[in-house]
């Protein structure tokens, strides 16, 4: 299933770019910066977890 998805080819430190998520959210009534900052922190954590396994 994953193979059929369009490749994101995320940058280093990124798994799912905020821009992709933002487009899916659409209308943004609140403060985008607050949400973006925390999204990117967790995204970076996930990235480090993934690459941990390849850097052994």
């Amino acid at each position: 299933m994953a193979d059929k998805e369009k490749l994101l080819n995320p940058d280093p430190g990124v798994c799912v770019p905020w821009e992709v998520k933002l487009e899916e959210i659409g209308e943004f009534p609140g403060n985008e910066a607050i949400v973006k900052k925390e999204w990117e922190k967790l995204d970076d954590f996930a990235y480090n977890f993934i690459w941990f396994w390849a850097q052994r």
Partner: protein, 390 residues
């Protein structure tokens, strides 16, 4: 400022001065508690690996009374419960796969196949998630299944838990004993990322003959990720180096032509990428790197700390000294087979030869093995203080 805080500041200054090739008040000493500690504490290696609290308490008991500057870490490199949660095939750990007092074993396989290169190069992070993690983890063999989803939740939770526990332990050791951690961030040479965990030794060596352009393209794709990995951790504190254990670049794994064309360009780019962001690399040159010292000297000044394992120390000093901090100088075999008297004699000579004009950190050359003797390790620290005053 408390006594321990002042001690921390003094040791930090000593460390930073040496990294910048200067001459501190005395030669900084690096020290790590290795697997060798197990036989002196009545614990099994399995207990040390599995029980982080026990492992950290052993370190806490050892630190008082030891006068060194830079702490390289506790006795276990990995926390196996995280690997168990994922059903990881990468290692055999003490008590699960190997006997409870055996060191861990890396289970090298071609987890990435030759036909995977293009997809990996197109999007490395996505390929790792979609293919590599299921390939290395029995629990992830059926992505999207109950077992797979639970394993990912547990694995990520374990990653966070271990990070939190170790951060707390380092905070306590700093406060209670004034020790300075060696570094933040972990990275590798791109060729090692490819050749260690993904293609394996046999796979990557065959690739050098059969698909060299794919090897180069993969190393190029890995490079920005390895820059990022070196910056990760502890807020990417650029006062400290990132740790980079270097494997296939040691002589004579590759011939000089292969080293120049396949190993070095992407490692150099990684180091330059890190240095452009103010981050130095602890160039952990395991084995012998003597034939490559001239190439290493092409790096920007101070961008690495060069670890001397079995590299010719005098040549390393001659070629790299003054422009790069050197670290090491004590053969790990001496810590196993030597005596305190021989250790002291060796350290006096090492300090005379390598530390005379600064830019040197005294340390074991490589990872201290489980059969090292505690009296030798302690003799190393004591001799460094006795002979290391400038």
């Amino acid at each position: 400022m408390s006594e321990k805080q002042m001690l921390y500041q003094k040791r930090l200054e000593r460390y930073i001065t040496a990294m910048d090739c200067g001459k501190p008040d005395m030669v900084p000493v690096a020290f790590g508690v290795g697997e060798w500690i197990a036989k002196y504490t009545g614990t099994t290696l399995q207990e040390i690996y599995y029980d982080l609290d026990k492992s950290n308490s052993i370190v806490s008991e050892m630190l008082p009374g030891l006068d060194f500057d830079i702490f390289k870490g506790g006795p276990s490199l990995w926390w196996p419960p995280m690997f168990d949660a994922m059903g990881s095939k990468l290692y055999k750990f003490p008590g699960i796969g190997v006997e409870e007092n055996s060191t861990f074993q890396f289970n090298e396989q071609e987890y990435m196949k030759p036909e995977d290169y293009d997809e990996f190069i197109a999007s490395p992070t996505e390929w790792l998630v979609n293919h590599y993690l299921p390939n290395i983890s029995t629990e992830l063999e059926n992505p999207g299944s109950y077992r797979s989803t639970v394993a990912l939740i547990k694995g990520a939770a374990a990653f966070a838990m271990q990070g939190g526990i170790m951060a707390q332990a380092y905070g306590k050791w700093t406060m209670d004993h004034g020790i300075v951690g060696q570094g933040t961030g972990f990275t590798k040479a791109p060729f090692d990322t490819l050749g260690d965990a993904l293609r394996g030794m046999k796979g990557v060596l065959l690739d050098l003959r059969r698909r060299p352009e794919k090897v180069l393209a993969a190393c190029e794709a890995i490079t920005p990720h390895n820059v990022n990995c070196g910056l990760a951790g502890a807020g990417a504190d650029t006062r400290f180096p990132c740790f980079a254990p270097l494997h296939r670049g040691a002589y004579p794994f590759l011939n000089p032509n292969q080293w120049n064309n396949f190993y070095w360009p992407s490692l150099k780019a990684t180091i330059e990428g890190l240095w452009a962001r103010g981050k130095r690399m602890l160039f952990y040159a395991e084995g012998d790197w003597t034939p490559y010292l001239d190439k290493i000297a092409e790096l920007p000044d101070k961008s690495i700390i060069f670890q001397i394992d079995t590299t010719d120390a005098k040549k390393a000093k001659e070629i790299l000294g003054g422009r790069f901090c050197l670290q090491g100088g004590v053969p790990t075999t001496l810590l196993t087979y030597g005596t305190p008297a021989k250790i002291k004699e060796h350290i006096k000579r090492t300090i005379d030869e390598l530390a005379c004009d600064g830019g040197f950190i005294l340390d074991a050359g490589g990872v201290v093995m489980g059969d090292a003797k505690q009296e030798n390790v302690i003799a190393m620290i004591e001799a460094a203080r006795e002979y290391g005053v400038y």
